[in-house]
Symmetry: C2
Subunit: 485 residues, 2 copies
């Protein structure tokens, strides 16, 4: 072999332990004054980004057609998304098969958060934006949320601000970059690329954007329906786990906070070794029999199309509706689109417990028809309680009573948050974190207690943690440093 040349390479740490500390420092940085300043700014934005949304008949959608023969609803460009029918078989479940409408949106969009050190503290560039499905208008969003149709300009609108930072990442530091699934009950194999990119240089702050510390964002996460789903999922992908976070995060007098900090450090150990968790997921993926196939939306026996909506004969689950949107602050000024409008308010909760001083989260390995790889880790409870009135009692999910019957002092986080307002109309879920005493009663083959550092490890990869659980992970992070409840 030829003699080795002078080696121009340098090696780096394979795992970055500095970034988690910087993230923790940002998380302890929010103040009452900053929150008050935010509120004034946010209120001032409302007038600039007005959006009028009106429900319209499905046949009144412009640029969208019902395909003859199948009844599927599609955009005339063939882009954006389609609403189709799906037949689902779960041969080993109480409800063995059903048919339902589902959104088919094969494109992978970008949910991007730009971060930057300002005064030695990481700040996030946050955007104020309205979506047609929002219950209360404006929400806090990540820097960029763009479908592929969006950034390749299928709709002919304005370009997406700051997108260039996420299209060419070679010049920036990547803190997170992973494709994650979205609602597997409503989307067929939808994924978005969740990115957190750190920049050094000057960044122009456009109207409707603002730099905020994680501490401030964590405070705002407790406000009802303010931080949108896209932002929550990106936040959950931040590497908020590592050694020595305790040096930054105040323990305070709250045992929960110390247990959270310990839970972010793999040196604290965990109830289950990671190899056992991965084996459990493999096992459930192998034993869960699920099959799906496309069927015509117009031929679903339990679903009825009226001029206003496609709905289940029970009136439960969700409707497919049409909306007309007029907007001042979007890429285009007016459009119509179909949406999914869930019936009822959902319940999304983690049970958490302290095991030998380390917080553990009870995760559920859950199959949804739209998942690419059978199952993902989900909240302890994720359901719309009303739906179970017509389903067999065996279908009622475990641990609902532990959540609904929790004493006030057990409830460590609770707020109403909504799912993505670009596709879902008034899709509200009550998100809760409920602390329970360790003990018997939580043994179940489809549930395991995981630490936060184990969840952080899984969140670096696709197909492991579902979107509702990711929202709750962001909420858990907010308890690491935020004001105690």
């Amino acid at each position: 072999m030829a003699k080795l040349q002078a080696n121009p390479y340098t090696l780096t740490s394979t795992h970055d332990t500095l970034t988690p500390l910087r993230i923790a420092r940002s998380a302890v940085s929010g103040t009452d004054a900053e929150e008050a300043a935010f509120t004034r700014w946010f209120d001032a934005q409302r007038s600039r980004f007005a959006m009028a949304v009106r429900r319209i008949e499905l046949d009144a959608l412009v640029g969208w057609s019902t395909v003859p023969g199948t009844g599927d609803i599609r955009h005339d460009s063939g882009k954006f998304f389609r609403i189709e029918g799906l037949e689902v078989h779960f041969p080993n479940r109480p409800v063995k098969s059903w048919q339902q409408p589902i959104i088919n949106q094969p494109e992978v969009g970008i949910l991007g958060l730009l971060v930057k050190e300002i005064g030695g503290v990481l700040h996030c560039l946050v955007q104020v934006k309205g979506e047609p499905g929002n219950h209360r208008g404006l929400q806090l969003c990540p820097t960029v949320q763009a479908t592929r149709s969006n950034y390749t300009k299928v709709h002919g609108g304005a370009s997406v601000p700051y997108l260039e930072y996420f299209r060419d990442i070679t010049r920036h530091r990547v803190l997170a970059d992973v494709r994650q699934s979205e609602q597997g009950a409503w989307f067929r194999q939808k994924r978005n690329r969740n990115m957190v990119i750190e920049v050094d240089g000057d960044v122009e702050v456009l109207d409707g954007f603002r730099w905020m510390t994680l501490g401030l964002i964590h405070r705002l996460l407790r406000r009802e329906d303010l931080v949108n789903m896209d932002f929550r999922t990106v936040l959950s992908c931040l590497p908020f786990a590592g050694p020595d976070l305790g040096a930054v995060l105040p323990a305070g007098e709250d045992h929960l906070r110390a247990a959270l900090t310990a839970s972010c450090d793999e040196r604290s150990g965990s109830l289950h070794a990671m190899s056992d968790i991965l084996s459990w997921i493999t096992e459930v993926r192998t034993r869960t029999e699920v099959s799906t196939r496309e069927v015509p939306l117009g031929g679903l026996p339990e679903w009825h199309r009226s001029p206003e909506k496609i709905s289940h004969r029970s009136g439960l689950f969700f409707d497919v509706i049409g909306v007309d949107v007029r907007s001042g602050g979007r890429e285009v000024d007016a459009w119509t689109q179909p949406m999914i409008a869930p019936v009822g308010t959902g319940l999304v909760a983690f049970l958490v417990t302290r095991l030998l001083g380390v917080l553990h989260v009870l995760v559920h390995v859950r199959a949804e028809p739209g998942y690419l790889d059978v199952v993902e880790l989900a909240p302890t409870v994720q359901c719309t309680p009303d739906n179970y009135t017509i389903l067999p009692p065996a279908a009622r999910p475990p641990f609902v009573d532990e959540v609904l019957g929790a004493a006030p002092e057990q409830v460590r986080f609770e707020t109403l948050l909504s799912e993505e307002g670009g596709r879902f109309y008034h899709a509200l879920n009550r998100y809760l974190i409920v602390e329970v005493s360790p003990g018997a009663g939580f043994e179940h083959p489809d549930f395991r207690w995981l630490t936060l550092h184990q969840l952080a490890d899984l969140l670096r990869h696709s197909h492991y943690v579902n979107v509702q659980a990711r929202s709750l992970v962001a909420c858990l992070h907010s308890l690491c440093a935020g004001r105690p409840r």
Copy 2:
């Protein structure tokens, strides 16, 4: 909240650092005497497991039919696998689209290795087995290789020995348990569950099975066409990475071996941080445009069906053939089946280099039509050189010349190994590990230098490392302790 009960839980280390040391100890345990004893035993097996394989016409297959209309080939039970047509579109590649036959086998089988400490050293329960596609008859296989049809007894044969250890793992230690893809050029979304299970108690050793150390297996991996593909992929999933392996593995006078040991330890660092590797994979998965759709096998314009085979008009790539099998040591005694018979011998190679004393492997992020998630990490070179005679020059893969033109002293591993003989007929690849000097010339957007501990980290998850690269990872492990070449 109710007062905490006495806590009955104990926490464990999230990441097991003892198992890699035990694996390394097993890897240094092979002796010349053990190898000689193996050879005598193996030769004695030949007479017991005779298998006669004869090529037959496709219409002579028994229990298999050509579906009228489509020309697809399927088993009359609807189980096992089907051979269908696939149309593939890669709009941004030199070859933008093609049609080909492909095996559709949606079931997830088990490739299981039973391990046990004997005299303080981990031993693997290895099986001798013939498959109809084998070039030379018997091979060394993992303890269990069972398709789901196999272990649910669709073919009505004998039960699979030792399967019970892999069906109920709660009483055993799990060293590896992950679903991994197989050949994405020949299989549509095929995956097998790769499992390594450690048992404590007595295990009866049946005829054709034998306990062997990893050291002995690593020696045998250098023999031509002996260790089968299923065994190689399971071996690659062993957690052969951790700190302090240098205390067990002899450094010797070979710089390569010390660099391999350092490469197994994440404290050695790496050229790229793991977050950058994951971001690179996400980026390529997002930018690679690939779409596939099922088409009738009988309607592929470039493929011709004769009585003996379905072949490409060029005579290249592969044929679909039929075989008649008579066996003494299989679940059933005689059967016929279709197989894929590749044309020519493939080339599968890793370029490796020492960067500051740490071995790095040049991996290629590769798209194949059968992958579930667009791309996987592949060997530096994976191709059948003959096929490129009819393709545009731009389609010729990078780094082929570095492999084919390597000086003898650069070649650290070389042997002829075959792909799975249950589906592929005489599918031989030349597997090589070639050491190169670090330097320029290896910069390419689809290639990165990774350490072994980074590969081990990715191998705990599905969809990252393809089956050819997994074979080479097993070959690399064999260099950690085996006799120097």
